[in-house]
């Protein structure tokens, strides 16, 4: 009796399935509980990985609920690569699809934030532009194009995502008020940190990433968000070491 890996895996991921024939103990009796060791290893290690990957979700739901959710998730979405540092890509969507959690609509966005923080943590290193790189006359600043660090991440949310994050990870942080908040993640050295982006900041960053100059991006952004605060957005980026290069194409004279 041979046991294929297809058979083995199916029984591993389904606790109600029978232990495959052809697996036994030293006295040639059916493996029984011995097979459960592997079942357990898989479930426990992946559940543990989910706790580590989504600490704020775990805190919001409680550890036991997280165990239950992770158990459902890992059977539906086993890791697709041995890089466990990126496990859980599908978790936000999975949470959004959970009927029982529909009263906590912001959970999926919190999971997206935790994923983005992890991606930022493992992003390639980069050298920040010197702090005075933007200490240039305003008429030149508008012509400048910027490049960002690979560890920069932007999240848009219909929820007060930054306030929810702070409330659940900082002692004494204020209770979140209704509203929508976008987040900028920067990683000055090795530790990524989320920051609240000014309204329109996410759009402005996207325009810069698409290759527009600071001035062009500002015009596009303030057409939709008249209150857009360019100075505050640039300050967040500079403080986070997220700008890696400033280039100015001077007009031919």
């Amino acid at each position: 009796m041979s046991v294929s890996q297809t058979t083995f895996r199916a029984a591993l991921l389904d606790p109600s399935a029978a232990v495959p024939d052809g697996l036994w103990d030293a006295a040639e009796r059916p493996a029984g509980r011995r097979f459960s060791v592997y079942r357990n290893n898989v479930a426990v290690s992946l559940t543990e990985a989910m706790h580590q990957a989504f600490p704020v979700i775990t805190q919001l739901l409680g550890s036991q609920n997280m165990d239950g959710l992770a158990g459902l998730f890992l059977r539906k979405h086993p890791p697709s690569s041995p890089l466990m540092m990126f496990y859980g890509e599908e978790f936000p969507e999975f949470l959004a699809g959970m009927e029982q959690l529909s009263h906590l609509g912001y959970l999926a966005d919190v999971a997206r934030l935790e994923l983005a923080l992890r991606r930022s943590y493992h992003s390639a290193d980069s050298q920040a532009a010197p702090p005075d790189a933007l200490a240039i006359p305003p008429e030149e600043i508008v012509l400048a194009k910027l490049e960002f660090a690979p560890s920069l991440k932007v999240l848009r949310s219909d929820w007060p995502l930054f306030s929810i994050w702070r409330f659940n990870s900082e002692d004494g942080a204020p209770k979140p008020a209704p509203g929508s908040e976008d987040i900028l993640i920067t990683r000055p050295e090795f530790d990524p940190a989320p920051h609240l982006l000014p309204k329109g900041g996410a759009d402005w960053i996207a325009h810069i990433q698409a290759g527009l100059t600071i001035g062009e991006a500002f015009e596009h952004t303030s057409a939709e968000f008249p209150e857009f605060d360019l100075g505050a957005t640039l300050a967040l980026l500079l403080q986070g070491g997220a700008i890696t290069s400033v280039s100015i194409e001077r007009l031919a004279t």
Partner: protein, 285 residues
């Protein structure tokens, strides 16, 4: 078959420990911490950030052993080319003192199960594993070591003993072996054989590294002891005794303490490494 000039295992015959980031400062502050460090390859396959910075720094001070846990050498399907490329990249820039993987499978149909799963020891498995090891050694450009698993059950279809199976793999591929002494003890207890006769049958000449770790105790359906390789506590006395039995026959080898869950303070891990040093000191040079 790998030509023997590419063996390049440079681990010292001294104690090493599995590196955990929480011990980073103590390892660097300590005047004589340990002889070498082992890392799990998959934790250093990101693009940058703290893990790689720490590894770069540690590798300037310690011989590093790269221990893969995700290649699925025993998988029925082909090896994951992306993962193989990542291993090649890591081994390429780090130029570690040793590179090892497991006699196990963990990926099937591109699903990674995050555990070292068991294999039947048949001619068919042997062919497949040898082909995979050839591919790994060719791609990575150096010898790999293959580690014996801890077993909780046996396959009816197996026709080889584990030591013979490993000996044949080493003979055909030119790979080296990583002998996990705790795994031998765990398998021997679980499958009712003598750990000493396993060692007697094992090709100790091909061993370039030894592993030691702690295990948990459970029972099977018939009330028989079922040991579980948990790497979450001290190495037990009978495993230390089995290490002596091995070292008496193999001579000095690099000995690693593995502690992966409930990771203790540095001092506890260091005490285990000291005990490994004492075992090495016992044997005549």
């Amino acid at each position: 078959m790998l030509d023997s000039s590419r063996q390049s295992n440079r681990l010292p015959a001294a104690p090493g420990v599995g590196y955990k980031p929480q011990h980073y400062d103590q390892i660097l502050d300590h005047a004589h911490p340990v002889g070498w460090l082992e890392i799990h390859a998959e934790n250093y396959m990101g693009d940058g950030g703290r893990p790689l910075a720490q590894l770069r720094h540690l590798s300037e001070k310690f011989p590093i052993s790269v221990h893969g846990v995700g290649l699925s050498i025993g998988g029925e399907g082909p090896l994951d080319p992306d993962h193989l490329a990542r291993l090649k990249h890591l081994v390429g820039w780090l130029n570690p003192a040793s590179f090892s993987e497991h006699l196990a499978w963990s990926t099937h149909d591109s699903h990674f199960l995050n555990d070292l799963l068991p294999l039947p020891y048949t001619d068919e498995t042997l062919e497949r594993i040898c082909a995979h090891i050839d591919q790994v050694q060719e791609t990575v450009g150096r010898q790999m070591l293959l580690e014996n698993p801890s077993s909780y059950l046996a396959f009816e279809e197996s026709s080889w003993s584990e030591p013979d199976f490993l000996r044949e793999i080493a003979r055909r591929t030119g790979c080296g072996l990583l002998l996990d002494v705790n795994n031998v003890f765990v398998s021997a207890t679980n499958l009712d054989f003598s750990p000493q006769s396993y060692i007697d049958a094992y090709p100790l000449n091909n061993v370039h590294e030894i592993h030691l770790g702690g295990h948990d105790e459970d029972e099977d359906d018939h009330g028989r002891p079922l040991l579980i390789d948990s790497h979450g506590r001290e190495v037990v006395d009978p495993v230390w005794a089995l290490l002596d039995y091995v070292l008496d026959r193999s001579g000095p080898k690099p000995v690693l303490i593995e502690w992966d869950t409930d990771v203790p303070d540095w001092s506890v891990l260091r005490a285990e490494a000291d005990r490994a040093q004492a075992a090495l000191d016992r044997i005549p040079a």
